[in-house]
């Protein structure tokens, strides 16, 4: 049966089903049960935004409330993964990753390599990403490029409830460390999700909308801004192909290059800061691998190179809009050779 549920509920369902399927799956994080010392009653809060609500009642002590020490429990999760568990650690805001970065980029990401391929680290670190939540510069970043940069980490950033469930299940079953980025402004987004468990393989982009005029390559919340832009542009006779990367590492460049081969035009949309972003990476790879297919300059639409502003007016301006994406596509359509 398929029914409409929110992205938040899709995460909850994926965790619930994997915990039921595999006793080695455990969850840990701040307040994911109900707050320190809480008896774990059914209406416990379930994390800062209630994503894990109800899971404690079903799976008991396999969900652990941790002290307010990210470095301790992310390290513990990685250690447990090395010893045969499949921990899913909730880091709340990805901005907090800094205090536990050694465990992630220098330990978890390296174990398989350092131990001759014999060590597996099947840990998932779930974290909220993105701006638009009025949570200021230290709780609003889109740090996907930071993790994508590091070999040995897999990076996932879904845009809709269906993909969220299938990609989280795949993340839990995957034997490598996965940084699972959840856009906080998409938690309420509803979409059709089948009840039965399913896994979406990593490294397969989704062509959200087909078109032959210009390729828009993006991920996360920007998928929605980009499809909004595509709808505006369709009225002007510009047919955009919108590609949702779904996973940033591994990255499905084949689908991107196939699309650019068809359209000859590329706009990369990324909510991250522009320098060394996913948009910059895709642009560079297309320029290297498909230069001959390009009919015009590549455009990037990203956040500016500033922290996320706290002023609501400025924050709204900070996040790339459908209008900015549409303008970039129009520039690309006018530019270059015809």
């Amino acid at each position: 049966m398929t029914r409409k549920i929110s992205m938040k509920d899709a995460i909850n369902e994926a965790l619930d089903q994997e915990m039921a399927r595999d006793p080695s799956v455990i969850c840990m994080g701040e307040d994911i049960v109900g707050g320190a010392g809480a008896p774990g009653e059914r209406d416990a809060w379930g994390g800062v935004l209630g994503v894990t609500k109800g899971l404690y009642a079903k799976h008991g002590d396999r969900l652990m409330d941790t002290p307010l020490s990210e470095s301790a429990y992310i390290g513990a999760a990685i250690g447990a993964a090395c010893c045969g568990m499949r921990p899913v650690a909730e880091l709340m805001f990805i901005d907090f990753m800094g205090v536990c970065f050694d465990q992630i980029y220098n330990q978890a990401a390296k174990f398989k390599y350092m131990f001759g391929g014999k060590a597996e680290t099947p840990v998932v670190i779930r974290a909220m990403v993105g701006a638009g939540f009025r949570a200021a510069a230290q709780h609003s970043q889109m740090l996907t490029p930071l993790f994508t940069h590091i070999p040995g980490l897999k990076v996932v950033c879904p845009s809709n409830p269906y993909d969220t469930k299938g990609l989280l299940i795949q993340s839990i079953r995957d034997n490598d460390p996965v940084i699972f980025c959840e856009h906080k402004n998409l938690y309420g987004l509803e979409g059709e999700v089948p009840e039965a468990p399913y896994a979406i393989p990593f490294g397969e982009a989704n062509v959200v909308r087909a078109g032959k005029s210009c390729s828009i390559v993006t991920y996360g919340m920007m998928v929605h801004r980009s499809t909004d832009a595509a709808a505006i542009l369709a009225k002007e006779g510009i047919e955009c192909e919108v590609i949702d990367l779904r996973t940033l590492s591994p990255l499905d460049m084949d689908t991107v290059i196939e699309s650019v081969g068809k359209t000859g035009r590329l706009v990369c949309v990324d909510e991250a800061n522009p320098r060394c972003s996913i948009a910059a990476d895709i642009s560079a790879q297309v320029a290297q691998k498909a230069f001959g297919a390009l009919k015009a300059q590549i455009e990037m639409v990203t956040a500016p190179h500033t922290p996320v502003p706290f002023s609501p007016v400025l924050e709204d301006l900070y996040i790339p809009s459908a209008t900015q994406v549409a303008d970039a596509v129009r520039r690309v359509m006018k530019g270059g050779r015809h």
Binding site: M1, T2, P194, A196, Y198, P201, E204, V207, A210
Partner: protein
């Protein structure tokens, strides 16, 4: 026959709400006969050809290529040459898209569920009168494989189509992996939905199940129609089965699914997405591996019940697409004596989708006896 005949956006299947006009295949002024292809339309499921339901002369193309229009929207106007342009203008101006009773929530309700031998199956039932017809899809398919056939057959019959166990939206479990197990399950399904006697229409593996059912339960079966059917000869494209089962990405699946059609352009992104959504469910790969191994292992069909259908004395129709790349059209030559056999040119394994009009005509005639 009214002076002016509208050509409207068809409704293919329960979930179709709108379609995009791809291209016109005839020009204004062309003489149209019944069944003639008039224009191409793309839906979220498949691209298809709109065929003329009435004869006449195409006087006006109302819809232009690229336009997305709701079901029953006016696409064009046919009228005899002596009908003045002003009458056509007035018809176009006054045309109102009728409210489609099968839209939205009601479309979802058109699917029903039944629990048979502990397995929950999805099915559709259409048309209230006339003898019952059961449509059985093939390996890896679902009831949407009959998108272009259900409504046409429901004009005169009660049409049932199910998702076989382990397929489509039915539970991902098998009642067994032999044709006998599957035929028994279908017999129990018919009992559960209160159908005593039925015309069986089976595609591919569904044809082999239909044949087995007719042999095992002749009392339940009025006639058998086999489309690109298994169970009539040994050969089967083992590479197709293997690659279909193994494919996990759109890039792997696309060339496999394109093998099903003579015209690869009919394969839409949505068709592939729907198939991937099914194939990603836990257990599907294992289930298809098991079933495929049992029925089509090593590139040989393990059971050939279709060859024994002559013993039943039931009317048999055998339809094949000439360019079938999954089960060769030569197997039509193994049809039981007395069967009606039709091999359709320019069509592949999914002949009931690719040449829906011809297949529907053959089925209607066969079922009417």
């Amino acid at each position: 026959m009214p002076a002016v005949t509208p050509i409207v956006m068809p409704k293919w299947g329960l979930s179709m709400r709108e379609g995009t006009v791809n291209e016109w295949l005839v020009g204004e002024g062309a003489k149209i006969s019944v069944g003639m292809p008039i224009l191409n339309v793309e839906t979220d499921k498949i691209s298809g050809v709109v065929e003329a339901a009435d004869p006449g002369t195409l006087r006006r193309k109302v819809a232009s290529p690229g336009q997305l229009l709701p079901v029953k929207a006016l696409l064009g106007v046919m009228a005899e040459a002596d009908v003045p342009d002003a009458v056509i203008d007035a018809f176009v101006a006054g045309y109102v898209v009728p409210v489609d009773e099968g839209v939205g929530e009601e479309a979802a309700e058109a699917y029903q569920y039944a629990e048979i031998d502990g397995i929950r199956v999805r099915y559709a039932r259409k048309g209230g009168d006339g003898s019952a017809v059961l449509l059985i899809h093939g390996f890896g398919g679902d009831l949407d494989n009959w998108l272009f056939n259900i409504d046409a057959l429901a004009e005169r019959n009660t049409v049932l189509a199910l998702d076989l166990p382990g397929h489509g939206q039915s539970d991902r479990r098998l009642p067994g992996k032999t044709l006998k197990d599957l035929a028994r399950f279908v017999a129990h399904f018919l009992e559960a939905v209160g159908v005593e006697r039925v015309h069986l229409v089976g595609h591919s593996m569904g044809g082999a199940i239909a044949s087995r059912l007719a042999l095992d339960h002749p009392d339940k079966v009025a006639s058998v129609a086999l489309i690109g059917s298994a169970g009539l000869g040994n050969e089967v494209n083992a590479g197709y089965i293997e690659r279909f089962v193994a494919a996990q990405s759109r890039r792997d699946l696309k060339p496999v699914v394109e093998q099903l059609f003579a015209d690869a352009n009919l394969v839409t992104r949505q068709m592939l997405d729907d198939l991937l959504k099914y194939k990603r469910f836990d257990g599907v790969t294992e289930l298809l591996t098991e079933l495929g191994g049992s029925l089509f292992g090593n590139g040989r069909q393990s059971e050939l019940p279709g060859q024994q259908l002559g013993e039943t004395g039931k009317p048999v129709l055998v339809v094949w697409g000439r360019e079938d790349r999954v089960i060769p059209a030569q197997h039509a030559g193994n049809a039981p004596r007395g069967a009606t056999v039709q091999v359709i040119e320019g069509s592949g394994h999914m002949v009931q989708m690719e040449k829906a009009h011809e297949v529907n005509s053959l089925l209607k005639k066969h079922i009417a006896g």
